[in-house]
């Protein structure tokens, strides 16, 4: 006698899963009838750890909340602390921050290219995009001293000024990447296999997206133009010229197109920041970190990360340690509520394909 449905487990260790989490699938034939996400394999207790670290020591762990794109965490933490303390940030630092955030966005999208194509079985794309991402990591290495964890944007500004020759190197890298995007198009977006796999798969309903609090590319892929950089500009985004794409569709294909379009915008923003960057200080020095106290207060700040709106709620009770740091990453919605609903009715082979298109990142779910 044939069983009607079977239980399958994907993850926590699985190449198709972004990070360590597990999806328990109830399948009938090749079709998913129920998806249940299981997290808890990656809990490192960041929020709790920060309660016993002083304000500067906490700065070094926020970046670890997201490996592919650590900078929005640094940006959020720094901006929250600055807001509570009332610390001014030099104009130059703001430009450097925006540049760093956009470089991180590009690096993150390049990694996404690899994941999205890789989960469709197109293995040349990851080789290319991860290789090209390395050129951004080179820039990060020059700028911050670290390739993955930059620990660069900190309260008061940025940690170091641009190194000598950075501008030229960065502009060259941008030119190179821009050309490469065309080649990626040929390899991925013009590829029949990808088109066939992506179109009409993992469709998010526009109303549900709003209801669930979907953000970032998945939301813009539903035709809703929402981006923190436009809606609630921080740093110097209001002084820069760029567009935020939004398209109707709601499927994997639309989300992919949006990201492809955004890379070009980010390249453009990086160029603008490098051109418009004023001289002067890059850092409004904090006092001795051992005795640095932040007046009591709280701040809710948000940044547009590559995966969507990324927010921090920071509370100070007037001591030298944060009372509470709450991290609200987009993956909580995308990786749990949205994914569980989206997978129903889809093919098993599309599970990690859809997951990649949402940009889930388990460390954000379990901070």
């Amino acid at each position: 006698m044939r069983e009607k449905s079977t239980t399958l487990y994907i993850g926590p260790q699985h190449p198709g899963i972004t990070g360590n989490m597990m999806v328990k699938l109830q399948v009938e034939g090749d079709t998913v009838v129920k998806a249940e996400t299981h997290v808890g394999y990656l809990h490192r207790g960041f929020e709790k750890l920060m309660e016993r670290r002083n304000w500067l020591q906490s700065f070094t762990i926020v970046c670890r909340i997201c490996v592919p794109e650590p900078d929005p965490n640094e940006e959020n933490y720094a901006r929250a602390v600055e807001e509570i303390e009332g610390r001014e940030v030099p104009e130059r630092a703001k430009y450097i921050r925006v540049m760093t955030l956009e470089l991180a966005r590009i690096a993150s999208y390049l990694l996404w290219y690899g994941g999205q194509a890789g989960s469709a079985g197109l293995y040349t794309m990851p080789q290319w995009s991860v290789g090209d991402r390395n050129y951004i990591l080179d820039l990060f290495e020059d700028l911050t001293g670290g390739r993955i964890y930059h620990m660069y944007i900190w309260p008061g500004g940025v940690r170091r000024d641009l190194p000598k020759g950075f501008k030229d190197k960065a502009l060259k890298t941008m030119d190179y990447l821009e050309k490469r995007i065309d080649e990626y198009d040929k390899l991925l977006f013009e590829n029949s296999i990808f088109q066939k796999r992506a179109k009409g798969v993992g469709i998010i309903d526009k109303n549900k997206a709003i209801e669930w609090g979907v953000v970032g590319a998945p939301l813009r892929g539903c035709g809703i133009k929402s981006d923190v950089r436009i809606d609630d500009p921080y740093e110097v985004y209001d002084k820069l010229d760029f567009e935020v794409p939004a398209m109707e569709g709601g499927d994997v294909w639309t989300r992919a197109l949006i990201r492809r379009f955004e890379i070009r915008q980010s390249i453009n923003i990086v160029r603008q920041t490098l051109e418009k960057m004023p001289g002067g200080e890059f850092y409004n020095k904090i006092p001795n970190p051992m005795k640095w106290k932040i007046p009591a207060g709280d701040a809710y700040v948000k940044t547009e990360s590559a995966r969507g709106e990324f927010a921090y709620y920071v509370v100070s009770d007037g001591t030298n340690k944060p009372r509470r740091v709450h991290v609200k990453g987009p993956a909580y919605v995308h990786g749990v509520t949205l994914l569980e609903n989206l997978l129903v009715g889809e093919n098993i082979s599309d599970v990690s394909f859809i997951m990649n298109s949402l940009g889930t990142c388990p460390p954000e779910i379990e901070r």
Partner: protein, 594 residues
């Protein structure tokens, strides 16, 4: 859409043109990539520049840095002798240790490859285990980027020309905001505690000030110093000489912070209320203290707290010893000392003023009725210059002069005064004479930078218009009709010491000249006056080079007699005297409670 659209099949094939292009990757280990100039790789520590303050270890939340003892590195003043050891298995290369290193000795390098099959290999001492990597330093913190605050909050003072109009206190003290800001510069490394003769709990009270808890600061300060406000104003502050921040910047103003904390208590009653010391029940033991100077007051205060019946015999009308009669009032106002002495009296210390031992009361009488005697008699007999003309009217010694002024007497010094010497007493005498309207020249054998006086005092004197003549050797005091009319000096050249010591002045032949003067004040040192001691005690007491020989607890060879302060201690400053007193308290307590 059909699966067989031609473009969709051909486009990806264009990727084939990448064949034959230079690859992105390089072959390792044939080719190794040099990391960037700012790379955060393995640590390197300049072991000679490091002072072992341990700030790197404090900031590291991964507990990756331990401070350990290394062979061949001894602790000394301003160096704990410890060096950081890094557990590379715990390090996350955030480089906060580099950012907070006050000396800039700790850096990260371009090195990122370290392979070993033995886990214990990852625990190593930067700078020792990778000696040859100094040229690989990449992530550094210079003074601009370092998180250490190198600039001191400036102290507000009266203007130099304003100061000389009166004996008003020249230094105005920090206000609350300034004190908090200055206190927050401290990195709590405790190198200062080691250097302070009295080992005051400096990081603790500075921390209390930084956290806005002045009362706590005062309590901590009173734990081992009963005259903190005096120290807060005039201490020689060896602590600041070794401050970790002073290696690359300006030391934390430890003295001014102590002054701030103590000045928050406006009178003796408030001090008592805040410090609220535990006074033990009377134990019936009598201790006599000769001299109400810093060491005597310290012994009296802490023994009284321990339940002893303490009586001080003071020859003069006021307590404080040299701090009252030697230090000018613009540095240490009378009210300040009275407040502190008043507090000491308020916990039960009896002071018999105007009672010179050996004259008003015999030493033997005190000796007989006490279970222990502490002598804090100081050095009050000034040395003379040993040149001709010192018997002339207008030739006097600085200590005598300061004593007279501080006692409210007037001494006519005329309008052109030479002060001979380069110590704090010389500067004090010069600045006092300046306030008395004289045109003052300090004549010093060596250069200004060789002067033992506090640099702030030297600067203060210069601000007030005191002229400093360096490399001037006094030869003779010239006079007419029994009065000083001038000082004959010769100029000197500095001869380097072949043994590496400080250069010595050598008289230049034919450079003699006579400076017109109405008074010459000598300030080249003092010695003790022990004439109050009976002959049989003098015979038995061990005295070497004018100082009592004592053990580590201040006990002389006569077990009932203890001594401290200048008459024991070569450093001859108030804080050393207090430290002597504090040590003697423990020794006396132990001696009497055998």
């Amino acid at each position: 859409m059909s699966f067989f659209n031609l473009k969709g099949i051909l486009s990806p094939v264009t990727a084939l043109k990448q064949f034959g292009k230079k690859p992105h990757t390089v072959g390792f280990p044939e080719v190794s990539i040099e990391a960037s100039d700012r790379y955060r790789g393995l640590h390197f520590n300049d072991l000679d520049a490091c002072i072992g303050c341990g700030n790197c270890s404090t900031i590291c939340m991964n507990n990756a840095i331990d401070m350990i003892q290394l062979d061949g590195i001894e602790g000394e003043k301003g160096d704990s002798g410890l060096r950081p050891r890094v557990d590379n298995g715990r390090c996350c290369w955030c480089a906060l240790c580099v950012e907070v290193c006050p000396t800039g000795s700790l850096n990260l390098t371009k090195e990122y490859n370290f392979v070993s099959t033995d886990a214990s290999d990852f625990l190593w001492t930067p700078g020792l285990s990778n000696k040859d990597k100094k040229d690989k330093i990449s992530f550094v913190s210079d003074k601009e980027t370092s998180l250490t605050e190198y600039t001191r909050v400036p102290m507000r003072e009266l203007d130099g020309m304003e100061r000389i109009k009166s004996f008003a206190e020249a230094v105005l003290g920090y206000n609350e905001e300034e004190a908090r800001r200055e206190a927050s510069r401290c990195i709590s490394c405790s190198l200062c505690t080691e250097s302070c003769p009295d080992h005051m709990h400096i990081p603790e009270y500075i921390n209390a000030i930084a956290s806005g808890n002045d009362a706590d600061a005062l309590r901590i300060i009173y734990d081992n110093n009963p005259l903190p406000e005096m120290c807060g104003k005039v201490c020689t502050r060896r602590c600041e000489d070794v401050c970790a921040i002073s290696v690359r910047g300006e030391a934390v103003a430890i003295r001014w912070l102590k002054r701030y904390a103590t000045e928050t208590a406006k009178n003796a009653d408030i001090i008592k209320e805040i410090v609220n010391p535990e006074i033990r029940e009377a134990n019936g033991l009598n201790v006599s203290v000769i001299g109400a100077g810093p060491s005597g007051l310290t012994v009296a205060y802490y023994l009284a707290l321990r339940g002893y019946n303490v009586t001080i015999y003071e020859a003069k009308a006021k307590a404080g010893g040299m701090t009252y009669y030697g230090i000018p009032k613009y540095r240490l106002p009378e009210e300040s000392l009275e407040k502190q002495v008043g507090y000491i009296q308020s916990i039960g210390v009896k002071i018999n003023f105007n009672t010179r031992v050996g004259k008003d009361i015999s030493f033997n009488e005190i000796y007989e009725k006490s279970d222990a005697v502490f002598m804090g008699v100081g050095y009050e007999k000034p040395w003379t210059l040993g040149i001709t003309g010192e018997d002339l009217e207008g030739s006097l010694q600085a200590v005598t002069y300061l004593d007279a002024i501080n006692s409210g007497k007037e001494i006519n010094i005329g309008d052109k005064v030479a002060v001979i010497g380069g110590g704090n007493v010389a500067i004090d005498a010069a600045r006092v004479a300046r306030r008395k309207g004289a045109d003052v020249t300090i004549v010093y054998r060596r250069r200004i930078e060789d002067m033992p006086a506090d640099w702030e005092e030297i600067e203060g004197a210069e601000d007030e218009g005191v002229h400093i003549m360096q490399q001037g050797i006094p030869l003779e005091i010239v006079g007419k009709n029994g009065k000083v009319t001038g000082l004959k000096i010769a100029h000197a050249e500095m001869i380097p010491d072949p043994n590496g010591g400080r250069p010595r002045p050598k008289q230049i032949e034919g450079s003699e000249e006579i400076l017109e003067m109405t008074a010459v004040i000598g300030a080249i040192g003092q010695e003790g006056d022990y004439s109050f001691l009976p002959e049989e005690i003098m015979k038995q007491l061990k005295i070497e080079r004018g100082r009592f020989v004592v053990n580590e607890g201040g006990q002389t060879n006569l077990s009932k007699i203890f001594a401290g302060g200048d008459s024991v201690n070569k450093t001859a400053d108030a804080i050393s005297a207090i430290a002597d007193g504090f040590r003697a308290v423990k020794a006396i307590d132990k001696f009497l409670n055998k």
